[in-house]
């Protein structure tokens, strides 16, 4: 049975290859999209938690964190409310975005942090000959190793940002916080009209539960006895928070699942329908030999399944290749979730079998004499 299917597929190699490729594209599309979503969220959540910060307090939380200003008094109020026994002194961060940096045309977050706080956030230089930290109040900049590689910029180069020339003075180790650091006071002066920050980073004392602290931050009141307008995000739940914020992309990926299945279905439907028409005489011969409808239908479905299995295999292969390639040529990350390999496999196979049902039914119900005399 599978001999006949394999022989038939082998005989029309080009068409089989195209069908396999069609299914592979659908599967790869799904896996790479899911992989990019997971990879990006994973990486950012990791980077945030690598700073050692327990809670990030924003005014308004957008995807990847907010840039809106909070007055300095907020930080003071939080510190007073919780007290030095429960939390370390807050780290104030000004967050901004840089659109173009060297050859990289992709938005990257920038943190304005005081020199002292760089160490508090676990920022380290990438190596001994990788420059130094910036001076407070200067137009100096740190970028991470990966951004350095992709932007083509290194220590000593200049970056145009907020209508100023910034000098890169150091390359920092990847994977901690953001990719671009500048001095806190310089960025604050450029972005805000009065003193403030866009993030207050909270580190809890040992044995203190960040969840509880986050709850108390929400209850904190300012000098006018009004509740602070803030949103604290606990680092440990960052991944879930991002996932929720990125739900729209997740939903989109789920639609792609349906698209991928439809591609499989249509590719197999068209291929196998053509095959059934082309092989009308062969079907007549099989019937004259006494083949049942079931036998004929199974022959068609076997052929489709072979195409689908190969298509899924090629698609998964392509996806892993993309998962390796994309991060090496760009700043994007791709982590293919293993359970999605399973889902994509099912999508390819189920789509294929659904697509084969109609051609199989057509083949099975052909009149043997008409089929035998078909030209």
């Amino acid at each position: 049975m599978s001999n006949l299917a394999a022989a038939n597929l082998w005989q029309r190699k080009t068409r089989s290859a195209i069908s396999i490729f069609g299914i592979a594209i659908g599967v790869a599309l799904l896996l790479v999209l899911k992989g990019m979503l997971s990879g990006t969220i994973d990486e950012i959540a990791n980077r945030m938690s690598n700073t050692g910060v327990d809670i990030f307090v924003y005014r308004k939380f957008e995807i990847w964190g907010g840039t809106e200003q909070m007055p300095h008094s907020y930080g003071k109020a939080i510190e007073d409310h919780l007290g030095p026994d429960r939390i370390k002194p807050l780290i104030s961060i000004v967050q901004d975005k840089i659109q173009v940096i060297g050859k990289v045309q992709q938005e990257n977050r920038v943190w304005g942090v005081s020199k002292k706080n760089l160490s508090a956030l676990n920022v380290r230089l990438a190596g001994e000959n990788k420059g130094r930290f910036f001076k407070d109040g200067s137009f100096e900049m740190l970028i991470d190793g990966r951004l350095s590689k992709h932007s083509g910029l290194d220590v000593g180069d200049t970056v145009r940002y907020l209508n100023h020339d910034w000098k890169i003075v150091g390359i920092h180790h990847i994977g901690v916080g953001v990719r671009v650091y500048v001095p806190f006071d310089t960025l604050q002066g450029l972005k805000f009209d009065r003193k403030g920050a866009s993030i207050f980073a909270v580190m809890c004392r040992e044995g203190i539960d960040p969840q509880q602290v986050a709850g108390q931050i929400k209850e904190t009141r300012d000098a006018n006895n009004e509740k602070l307008d803030v949103r604290p995000i606990v680092s440990a739940t960052m991944y879930e928070t991002f996932r929720k914020e990125a739900r729209i992309i997740d939903d989109f990926a789920n639609y792609v699942t349906i698209v991928a299945m439809s591609i499989s279905c249509l590719v197999i439907l068209l291929t196998m329908y053509t095959v059934v028409v082309e092989r009308t005489r062969d079907i007549g011969v099989l019937k004259s030999l006494g083949a049942t409808r079931f036998f004929i239908a199974r022959a068609i479905i076997t052929e489709s399944l072979i195409l689908c299995v190969l298509g899924v295999a090629v698609g998964v292969g392509l996806s892993y290749f993309a998962a390796w390639l994309i991060p090496t040529i760009s700043l994007l990350n791709v982590t293919i979730p293993p359970q999605w390999v399973l889902i994509a496999t099912l999508v390819g196979l189920v789509g294929g079998v659904l697509g084969a049902l109609y051609p199989a039914a057509v083949a099975a119900s052909k009149d043997p004499v008409v089929a035998l005399t078909y030209e």
Binding site: L4, Q11, D282, S288, G290, R293, F295, P368
Partner: protein, 221 residues
């Protein structure tokens, strides 16, 4: 007790809105071990008759009895079972599966019939003088060889009845003679019952009995 018997067998085809009769009432009997040739002018209904007897088509009227079953009373899957177990077909155009080798063509027939694909495949190909053509695809074989593969495929399950529709129609005289000799050998050495349609009087002469058809009925036995 004949192995095959028809009573007032009729078949009409619908052409547009009219029904055109192709068989107008065929009564015939074939005994086990006979080699029967059916001859007659083109369009007289020979192929139609063969298709009905082989359970490939349904009659419009009349009855067919074959080896203890009434074909005209069987459902589709019953007819498929009869074809699988008791009938072998040989066609004018060989009708081998083009993607399979000689051996593959016979093996698939055995698989359909639920037989194990064992040494019998080799045996039957050798019997048909095709021992060195086993791995050839149909297009890599001469037409005579192709037709011998088709015969091997038809007889591999030792059918009760071998049916052939102008088996020599596409062959030159040398190949025709060889095929006819094979049929005769099968009939004489193995008692194979054969029903063969032919245009060719030489071919008919090989048979032990000739039925002459005209206008959808048998006019001479």
């Amino acid at each position: 007790m004949p192995i095959l018997k028809t009573i007032d067998l009729k078949k009409s085809y619908k052409i547009g809105s009219r029904w055109e009769p192709a068989l107008t009432g065929v009564d015939m009997e074939v005994e086990e071990g006979e080699f029967v040739a059916i001859v007659g002018p083109s369009g007289c209904g020979k192929s139609t008759l063969l298709h009905l007897l082989g359970g490939l088509h349904r009659a419009s009227g009349g009855r067919i009895f074959f080896d203890g079953d009434e074909l005209t009373a069987l459902p589709d899957f019953g007819l498929a079972a009869i074809r699988r177990e008791k009938i072998g077909f040989v066609f004018q155009r060989f009708n081998l599966l083009p993607t399979l080798s000689a051996r593959g063509n016979i093996e698939i027939a055995m698989k359909i019939r639920g037989l194990p694909t064992d040494d019998k495949v080799v045996e039957i190909l050798k019997y048909m003088g095709l021992g060195d053509r086993m791995h050839h695809k149909p297009r890599e074989m001469s037409i005579g060889e192709q037709q011998r593969v088709a015969i091997a495929r038809a007889i591999v399950n030792k059918p009760k009845l071998l049916m052939a529709d102008e088996p020599t129609g596409n062959l030159d005289s040398d190949n025709s003679n060889r095929i006819l000799a094979e049929f005769k050998r099968l009939n004489e050495e193995h008692g194979q019952t054969i029903l063969m349609i032919t245009h060719n009087s030489e071919a008919a002469a090989v048979a032990s009995r000739t039925l002459r058809m005209r206008d959808g009925r048998i006019i001479e036995d």
